[in-house]
Amino acid sequence: MARTLAVTVSVPGGLHVCCDGADEFSLTVPSVRAALDELERAHPNLHRSICDETGAVRRHINLFVNTDHIRDLDGLDTALAPGDTLNVLPAVSGG
């Protein structure tokens, strides 16, 4: 079977409206930062729902590479390998 070169970005339900209903994207990017840059270029509404205008990930958004939070890895500089999934998840918070 051919080895996939892409990583998958998984989008939470609340943000499907920002990307024409898509629940995931395939991107060929080397890092989390590059993935977000690509989202900013191709899906600006989705990007501004994940990051604020300074480029920081919003306080109540968590990014996981597969099952690991990027804060436990190298943050936005965390490398992505082919086959990885970048999971975008809202935090459990509110009232």
Binding site: G14, S49, I50, E53, T54, G55, R58, H60, A91, S93
Partner: protein, 370 residues
Amino acid sequence: MPEKVILTIGTKKGVFVAESSKARGKFALRGPFGQGVAVYSTLIDTRAKPRVYASSCNPFFGMKVLVSTDLGKKFKETKSAPAFPKEDGRALANIWSLAPGDGKNDLWCGVEPASLFRSGDGGDTWEMVEGISNHDHARKWQPGNGGLCLHTIVRSGNRVHLGISTGGHYLSEDGGKSFTASNKGVGAGFNPDPYPEFGQCVHKIVAPMQVPGRMYMQNHGGWGDWEGPGGKRPGIGVLRSDDYGKSWRSIAKGLPSDFGFPIVVHPHEPDTIYVVPLTPMTRTCPGAMPAVWRSENGGGAWKKLTKGLPKKDSFFTVLRDGMDIDEMKSPALYFGTTTGQVWIGRDGGEKWDCLFDALPPVNCVKVAVV
């Protein structure tokens, strides 16, 4: 088409729209829209075909501006929300005010951290207004309890008045290009200097359009018994200006408290104003008995309006945008509470009825006749 009265109710859990005939008997409720997300500001824009705007302040996914072209039967997001330039370093934390501009598609928007944005296309694109957003004072303003917010935009010709908490009142006389702190007579209780140049915790400003120069302000009062540096400063909470906000004087005498959030002016009688005095420490109704207070002589004397309101055990707050008045010949007042009630005060507040008893906590109420 018969006239309708449209009420927008921004809550902690989305925006509701209520509709009535102009008799204002029963109101039909629809919503919530922007479900589950706090709405701090709405605008019923009647300059052309009516449009309803609402700020949707999503702590997860950021700020959005919602728009409806069918009187609030459905809403969609505008193409973008205000955003600071990338190099600015600030990030939008909330949208506190939406106001009409000159052209039918022009909008003004006040945000947190305190800054001002303009749109020329009905909210699809936004541009930061440098004159206030990058004012020399901007990085010295401090957040109040609600955050560092630009919550009030009052425009008349080339004059633009802004209310900032805590920044004070800022005035532009060149259409919004430049702004000057204009707080002579506006006190600050939490500052050793009772009357600083800027930094006051202004809560709301209104201006009757019939009397040039007349303005009213609900400021952060409640400092009549202050024993700290600078001494007592009674009556700084409810103020009036007769010179376009260049100087202000107290009109709080006769009120049970000079602390409150909203202030509303009668649409046809510029001397008639309404406030909701609150106990400063608790920010709830004095004596647990809610009352709207009305002055019919520009703040010279006040009358308590309570008919129909609870007589005991009421501990709600009415927030800065939580009260409005319609423009009918005999106008009705409307206020929403942090306990999720919406009240109507018919005949200018003479008699009150509860329209809705169990909404989410109410941030803002706006009304228009369309």
